[in-house]
């Protein structure tokens, strides 16, 4: 019980740190006209690809896929913000503290899935109708649940990758950008997962985005509730799986770094 209380306190403080970090990075103006504007431009960019292809179904597919993708792009910032602890030299202190490193980093970047969910919902509900993708009021609550589910489960993937750049911050953009582009390619964002060979489909099936996006598309297609719940359950299961792997990766990193004195204050 004491362990749970202590862990939740660490998560709370870490999330407060994340929020402070977010407020230091953005004002409401720079978030709205800088970040949100950029992400809406990304969705518009792919929507125009759909227009160029001249097929309404293709346009709809691209708009929904890329609107949801915005939450993934933002969520993968967890890799960069986690690695910033290495650059500013706080890792030895965190390592010496009587808490598991994984819980600190679980709360440390939680601003990204929250902000990403907001970005994706604005893209789906405000921008997508401009390209002919409309939602009925009964579909909106499902989107409001499924988008954060997709963002949070993808956050676990990003957290797992963060463990690998904690002591190699020079590769943070390389890793996070490559990871989200791979997801953009194979998870059913631009083309159906069936388009790819079976080994690629197998990889895609382990990624939460594949199932979260499938659930959102099912909502759009007015598929039976069981289909939506099935895909949402798979997204959640994948997210939990990646979270377990992230916790293991951070534990191994912690042990290895303590033994080899790999964390330093130098940044």
């Amino acid at each position: 019980m004491r362990y749970l209380v202590r862990t939740s306190t660490v998560l709370r403080y870490s999330a407060a740190n994340a929020w402070a970090d977010f407020r230091a990075s953005y004002t409401w103006w720079s978030w709205t006209f800088g970040w949100l504007g950029r992400m809406l431009a990304q969705v518009t960019f792919f929507a125009f690809v759909g227009i160029m292809l001249g097929d309404q179904a293709q346009l709809r597919y691209l708009v929904v896929g890329n609107a949801v993708m915005t939450c993934v792009v933002e969520t993968m910032s967890v890799v960069a913000s986690s690695s910033s602890e290495g650059r500013i030299g706080t890792l030895p202190l965190l390592s010496a503290a009587p808490v598991r490193l994984a819980w600190v980093f679980l709360g440390r970047s939680v601003q990204w899935p929250v902000s990403g969910s907001l970005t994706a919902l604005v893209s789906l509900l405000a921008l997508a109708p401009a390209f002919g993708v409309h939602w009925s009021p009964t579909q909106v609550p499902a989107l409001v649940l499924l988008v954060p589910l997709t963002a949070l489960s993808t956050y676990a993937v990003g957290l797992f990758l963060s463990a690998f750049v904690l002591t190699a911050s020079g590769a943070r953009n390389l890793l996070s950008n490559s990871a989200y582009l791979v997801m953009m390619a194979i998870c059913g964002v631009q083309v159906p997962v069936d388009f790819w060979p079976s080994w690629v489909r197998s990889i895609a099936s382990t990624l939460p985005l594949t199932h979260g996006l499938a659930a959102i598309r099912s909502v759009g297609d007015r598929a039976p509730v069981a289909d939506v719940l099935g895909q949402a359950g798979l997204a959640l299961a994948c997210g939990v799986g990646w979270l377990v792997m992230a916790v293991l990766a951070f534990s191994l990193l912690e042990q290895h770094s303590r033994r080899r004195d790999a964390f330093d204050f130098g940044g």
Binding site: W35, R38, Q42, V49, I51, L174, S178, L181, Q190, V191
Partner: protein, 255 residues
């Protein structure tokens, strides 16, 4: 010229040793996979050339913007900015040469994108007008360096503008018609896109891969050069004026 060459070589060495700076060389093939998959799935193999060219321009643009932002802030954090400004060497020339180095490196992404179209998609994109392609790539890289030097001046003046660095990507990919030609954009947006050199570059690069003869090649190359030179002139002027001001007020470290 010697200053330009030395700054160019310094930045090239620095860039090749930093995995994050050359991340576009990893992301460009991934973008090609994304664009090729869309065109293949839509049975539009005629768009393969677009899928190869778009990541090249995206690499040029994003790497130049990243360098423009990093260049000043890194020198500032290392404490070498003041020394750089105090030397008799022209600071705008150093900035321009260093950005030119990274834009030159990022043109390698054309070879990568071409290879990705060939394998795994089995599409051989033929370069029908190699000289046009070469000139267009060289001029686009220089125009990009000129435009980015103007951005670096903005970052000296307003360090908070770096937060928005990422925001200068997709709006310009859209305006520059790098994947979807400008003719698909709404009519009211087209005149604006003609002020972005990328729109001229993307059009001409597509013409270079098309079997049809290239029409108005020289005026189109000139448009890229003029818009790039305008960016360079604005950047140089802004950097010079900003440096004069911070020298006289002694606020370089605080800008």
């Amino acid at each position: 010229m010697r200053l330009f060459r030395d700054a160019f070589r310094f930045q090239a060495a620095l860039t090749l040793r930093s995995p994050d700076t050359v991340h576009v060389l990893v992301t460009a093939p991934l973008y090609t996979v994304v664009f090729m998959a869309i065109s293949r799935h839509a049975h539009r193999t005629d768009l393969a050339a677009y899928a190869v060219l778009a990541p090249v321009l995206m690499s040029l643009w994003s790497l130049a913007l990243l360098t423009a932002g990093d260049l000043i802030s890194r020198e500032r954090s290392r404490g070498t900015l003041e020394a750089m400004v105090a030397t008799p060497a022209s600071f705008p020339v150093v900035v321009l040469a260093r950005i030119t180095a990274v834009t030159t490196i990022s043109t390698v992404s054309f070879v990568e994108s071409w290879l990705v179209a060939w394998w795994p998609f089995g599409v051989v994109v033929r370069v029908e007008h190699p000289l046009t392609l070469l000139w267009c790539l060289v001029l686009s890289a220089l125009a990009m360096a000129g435009t980015a030097s103007a951005m670096s001046a903005l970052y000296v003046l307003l360090p908070t503008a770096r937060t928005l660095q990422n925001s200068f990507t997709y709006p310009f990919y859209l305006l520059g018609g790098i994947l979807v030609p400008v003719s698909y954009l709404p009519e009211w947006l087209r005149p604006l896109s003609r002020l972005v050199f990328l729109s001229w570059s993307s059009d001409l690069l597509r013409s270079a891969l098309s079997p049809a003869p290239v029409v108005d090649e020289l005026p189109r190359l000139a448009a890229i050069a003029v818009l790039g030179a305008a960016g360079c002139a604005v950047g140089g002027l802004m950097i010079t004026r900003i440096l004069r001001r911070v020298r006289s007020t002694g606020t370089l470290a605080r800008t």
